[in-house]
Symmetry: C2
Subunit: 460 residues, 2 copies
């Protein structure tokens, strides 16, 4: 343990007084915080090249003044304070915990396979080679990218090989990287789905590009309107539109691919939760239809845990070097190697099988509870994913319901969160992945009561 | 294990022929790669809802055609190929291994404390709470930021608390985040040290800002010239200028702080290797002098391993919310918790003590070898860090020496890599952290021979 201070016989004051003054100042300006350990008298004396008695005296004085807590045999520490803060800091935005958590697009992280992941990490640390421990390839550890190429080809019909997979901190991180690359190549406008996530538009705008919203309907993105939007790229969720749950219809896929080829536009396919499907056949990735024009983006955030901050993009060959030239050194590499083990050992498939059964049960409980408690709601998007949409009668005020629910500790999303422009029927977006069946039933009952009260208030 | 394909009695061909065609197509277009495992016949039959015989027949045909390798009791796999590639991919840029690695600013990752890190990771996985396993705070796990605030206050005199520490993937990742935030607030120009790293200018430019170079001299950054540069922020390495090794002189520190206060300019302090000092007292962080105008940036890349991709910035209070609004969900969180353990248990201090002794020995060997083999070189920057600079006689062609050295498998940097504008005496930048004393001596001997030949060629 080291403490950054220096003393000198050439400076004013005794050596002991100099030490006292330095520590006092450091406590006052906040650089030594309440409870922080400081070196033992022996250690500090050694570091400063002074006799131990000098430090013992200084510490005794500081302890007497209430700056330091010293106890025989224990590490000396800065006292609990209070000490004045050098600079006031605005508090971080607090997230209310919520009694019922209906937030969509989040996995049940309480089921995170800690033991299996710990084994993979342990093996990764033991094996990681010197190159990968250094800066290595900014696109990610080779073995992870090889394993991912196999996995994505097999499970999602993605055409990939190691050299055009870039490992990211997750979808939004990758999107930022891509937007900056496109901007540097002269792109101006990026189309997003309406309704759709709002984070995308934020990232697009921060990259110096304009975000253009293109509506979706029951067949998915309105490709005819996209053609008129004069966008350089389009961000979409073809397998399971977020948040409506619509699947991009085969004729729209064909039209989109034709448009990409005719115009050179790129599509950015956000394949965020394709792993969860219950009553319908799997829909292959759009990327498989045209790997030269589609960027495929995936993440472990919905299948394992957001905490891993592990995602990927499969790039068209023409974007590989441009993205590389914009890249920093990438994300945590031991985790990447661990994920390669996790894939190779079949742990991901095993975890998904287990979770699909669990989520399907929760979805069924959710649908049954909605049918019972809220028969006036029209439930959609039930075939896949981790949430349903519930369209409410036209006279219900969606924002008022959401506000009343949040006030009662019920966390949820509404269509308004995804379509700031409005014009959509009042709709709740309800995730069912994070609560047990009985909690889901209780939450839906309470939510239905709030909606009845709010709707009654409107009618009055 | 799942394979994404579907078959139907309504489609042309037998079910077995449909399976064959799908797999054949997937192999041809690269979505199933050579050697990839495919589901067992029993599994695939279950997934597709067909009889096992249908799949057995399809696999037998594919095996006969050379697409599949099936063996009793073993997982069936796609054969070794060759298969045509759907899209050609440009190869990744290869990094030559090099017989002698003198690259600067890299730690000896062969000394990475794997066992201690594995213990910290194991404990982190066991302890991480549900919030942190989810999206949590984008700025990073609380316990890491608390531990870091203590550590930076104690070891570097940094004024920090959790709320204004943002965990990054490393210095360049943080710099990008900061530059985009400054650009969104209207910044136009960022000053960088000359000579200095070239990655900084790339990141600045990609964020839509102009990079302005301000010269350094023997006292560090020319603050008088910075005042004229009309920059919104300045990036500098005050504790140990990269690559010259100069320490920012006290009068320059004072002048810089006065300039920051007078103009509202921000300083971005890259404290990349302050932990390594050998013959001089520690220099406290600039940030401690003015936490409202200095962003402090640090990383574990030089003290542990670049692979962890773990860095941090301590932000002035006025930049906390602006950076937050630009942020994606941050980096790997289990690693952050592991690093908190690593700090708290004193593992970092222990590792640094061990490495300082090792690096000092290597530095001494390097200086001795240079004095013996290359007496005409002027060696500087020896008091700290992981590299020295060697100024060569004025008639030596630095670029020719570097090219000849690289051709012989000697990796190094030159002043030209840091000062593209030229105007500096021919200088080599030689890292000594990655080789044993005997390898260093051998490498310096070989390098000196190359310089003699090149200088002789020039003179001729």
């Amino acid at each position: 343990m080291e403490l950054l201070l220096s003393v000198s016989k050439d400076r004013p004051g005794t050596l002991s007084a100099q030490i006292q003054r330095r520590i006092r100042d450091a406590v006052r300006d906040g650089s030594l915080r309440a409870g922080s350990p400081v070196p033992s008298t022996r250690d500090l004396a050694g570091q400063l090249g002074v006799s131990r008695k000098v430090v013992v005296d200084a510490y005794a004085q500081l302890a007497a003044e209430g700056y330091l807590v010293t106890r025989q045999g224990a590490q000396p520490r800065i006292a609990a304070g209070p000490f004045p803060d050098a600079v006031a800091t605005p508090p971080a935005v607090a997230v209310a915990p919520g009694r019922f958590d209906f937030r969509p697009a989040r996995p049940d992280v309480s089921s995170f396979p800690r033991a299996a992941w710990a084994r993979c990490l342990r093996d990764a640390i033991g094996e990681i080679n010197i190159d990968d421990l250094g800066y290595g390839d900014a696109f990610g550890v080779d073995t992870m990218r090889d394993g991912l190429a196999d996995h994505l080809g097999r499970a999602r019909g993605v055409v990939a090989d190691r050299d055009r997979i870039v490992v990211t901190n997750g979808y939004l991180h990758g999107l930022g990287l891509l937007c900056r690359t496109l901007a540097a190549r002269g792109a101006r406008r990026i189309a997003c789905e309406d309704p759709g996530g709002t984070d995308e538009a934020r990232i697009v705008t921060r990259s110096g590009l304009a975000a253009v919203r293109v509506p979706i309907d029951d067949l998915g993105l309105r490709v005819d309107l996209l053609a008129a939007a004069k966008a350089d790229a389009v961000i979409l969720t073809p397998a399971h539109q977020h948040p409506t749950g619509v699947v991009l219809a085969p004729e729209r896929r064909t039209a989109l691919i034709a448009l990409l080829r005719a115009t050179g536009m790129f599509a950015i396919e956000d394949d965020y939760d394709a792993e969860y499907r219950y009553d319908r056949p799997a829909v292959g990735a759009l990327q498989g239809l045209d790997p030269a024009h589609v960027v495929y983006a995936g993440t472990v955030s919905k299948v394992l845990a957001p905490a891993l901050r592990l995602g990927w993009m499969v790039l068209p060959p023409s974007l590989v070097e441009p993205v590389r030239s914009d890249h920093d050194h990438g994300g945590a590499r031991i985790e990447q190697l661990a994920f390669a083990h996790f894939l190779r050992r079949g742990e991901l498939d095993r975890h998904l099988r287990r979770m699909r059964i669990r989520y399907r049960r929760r979805r069924d409980a959710m649908i049954a509870a909605l049918a019972e408690s809220l028969p006036s709601g029209r439930v959609c998007g039930i075939a896949a994913g981790l949430h349903v949409t519930v369209e409410l009668p036209a006279d219900v005020d969606e924002a008022a319901v959401a506000a009343a629910a949040r006030a009662r500790g019920i966390a949820l999303a509404t269509m308004g969160d995804y379509a700031p422009g409005g014009g959509r029927p009042p709709t709740l977006i309800l995730g069912y992945s994070q609560m047990s069946e009985s909690r889901l039933r209780a939450g839906v009952r309470e939510l239905a009561a709030i909606i009845r009260v709010t709707a009654g208030g409107n009618a009055a």
